[in-house]
């Protein structure tokens, strides 16, 4: 791994307000106040990685900025992260820079795509990353600041600045921070990382290029099939990139919906199969320009057939199913950037690639 450039050190006025004014005016923030990344604070952050500060974790478009460990640490301080969050952020940036994720497209597109970070394994619990009530919302330091650090790296290293390197037409609140842990304790099936072949004691980051969560409420069905019909109805909608180009949408089941679905004998694969078969939109409800020459190229239907239906995934196994949230009859789905991004899962690992069993393994003594 080659080395990237060292972060610059600036001499700035001492007051919090004045420092924040300078950072905001230079376009280095997401609009919220930042924690000043002093040399001491960055050094404390760097005490939680075994990597060289100048090691390049990945290269971020559109600026082709080299995301060094040190620059990631600077942005993590600015975001308000605790130092022990750093290994999670490093793994997340590595995943975003992976060409399967398509960082060029995710950064610059007009689509409101944001990197959803799903953390699995014991490190998610050690860092108290919220997987329960309001996990996509406010109130938990890890969720709020880890996702924010990722966004600041995308802006400050990658040049994804609104209106120049980031051309999102409307953007999304998910672009401030979008980080949860999976609620493994209430998942009736295998958690995501185990399904993907990782050891349960390995901790992973999964990055998906998603829209913000679309809620799916069903208080009335008391059967797995009933809930799945509501879910499929919500996911088989017009306007997402998944109906246009498929890709890998995410279904985040609330624990109560997951429990009912599992009680009625559905495996996770059955859930995916059900959504594949039922999350379809009637082609006849869409306009002629959209169906002729666009949708018909991507699907096997005949656009003039009044019964034709458009699916949202190419194959059942393409979608991700996770469990998150607290009590209540709500789930959500996260439409993605469609065929232009693939989810990337990486272990939270030491420099030599060994997955860490505990965040404590990263602490320099």
């Amino acid at each position: 791994m080659s080395d990237g450039p060292r972060a610059r050190t600036l001499q700035l006025p001492a007051s919090f307000q004045e420092i924040n004014t300078v950072f905001y005016e230079r376009g280095w923030t997401d609009g919220l106040p930042i924690v000043p990344p002093t040399e001491n604070a960055v050094a404390e952050m760097l005490a939680w990685t075994d990597r060289d500060p100048l090691a390049i974790v990945g290269v971020l478009p559109p600026r082709q900025g080299e995301a060094t460990v040190e620059k990631i640490a600077v942005n993590a301080v600015m975001a308000g992260c605790l130092p022990q969050y750093l290994p999670v952020i490093i793994a997340a940036i590595q995943a975003i820079c992976d060409e399967r994720f398509n960082p060029d497209g995710v950064q610059a597109t007009t689509h409101p795509v944001a990197p959803l970070l799903i953390v699995n394994g014991p490190i998610a619990r050690e860092l108290s990353i919220n997987s329960g009530y309001n996990c996509f919302g406010q109130g938990t330091r890890a969720n709020a600041t880890i996702g924010r650090a990722i966004r600041l790296v995308m802006m400050n290293v990658g040049g994804g600045l609104p209106g120049s390197g980031d051309r999102s037409t409307q953007g999304s609140p998910a672009k401030y921070s979008y980080c949860i842990a999976e609620n493994e304790a209430e998942n009736p099936w295998q958690p995501l990382h185990v399904e993907l072949g990782f050891d349960a004691e390995t901790s992973t980051v999964t990055l998906c290029g998603c829209e913000g969560p679309h809620n799916i409420q069903d208080h009335y069905s008391n059967s797995g099939e009933g809930i799945l019909k509501t879910i499929a109805g919500a996911m088989g909608q017009a306007g997402s990139n998944n109906i246009l180009g498929h890709g890998h949408p995410v279904l985040t089941l609330g624990p109560e919906h997951a429990a009912t679905i599992a009680r009625d004998g559905f495996s996770k694969a059955d859930v995916k199969q059900f959504v594949f078969e039922h999350a379809r939109y009637p082609v006849s409800k869409l306009g002629h320009e959209f169906t002729h020459g666009v949708l018909d190229r991507l699907n096997s239907f005949t656009p003039d057939d009044p019964e034709a239906m458009c699916r949202i995934i190419e194959r059942p196994e393409d979608m991700l199913v996770i469990v998150a949230g607290g009590s209540g009859k709500h789930s959500s789905w996260q439409p993605t950037f469609g065929a232009y991004t693939k989810p990337v899962t990486l272990p939270i690992a030491r420099q030599d690639g060994t997955p860490a069993r505990s965040i404590e393994e990263f602490r320099r003594r």
Partner: protein, 71 residues
């Protein structure tokens, strides 16, 4: 990518995205990548307007490729 493989290439885009094009081409080491530019938008137009834009772009694109520099 095509340009790096020796295929003369011109990017066609709209003025709205010209600054993003310049940022990308510079950061990827192709600061002189030819570009043919039309006024934004490309979408939401009637067919005659699209054809008029396309006709105006052809000589720009050809000239840009032949010159090997940004239009």
């Amino acid at each position: 990518m095509l340009e790096k493989e020796g295929v003369p290439t011109a990017v066609v885009g709209t003025d709205e995205f010209l600054s993003l094009f310049k940022l990308e081409s510079r950061s990827r080491g192709l600061p002189d990548l030819p570009v043919a530019i039309t006024k934004h938008p490309l979408g939401g137009l009637r067919e005659p307007e699209v054809l008029a834009k396309a006709e105006a772009l052809v000589p720009q694109a050809v000239a840009a490729v032949l010159r090997g520099g940004a239009a």
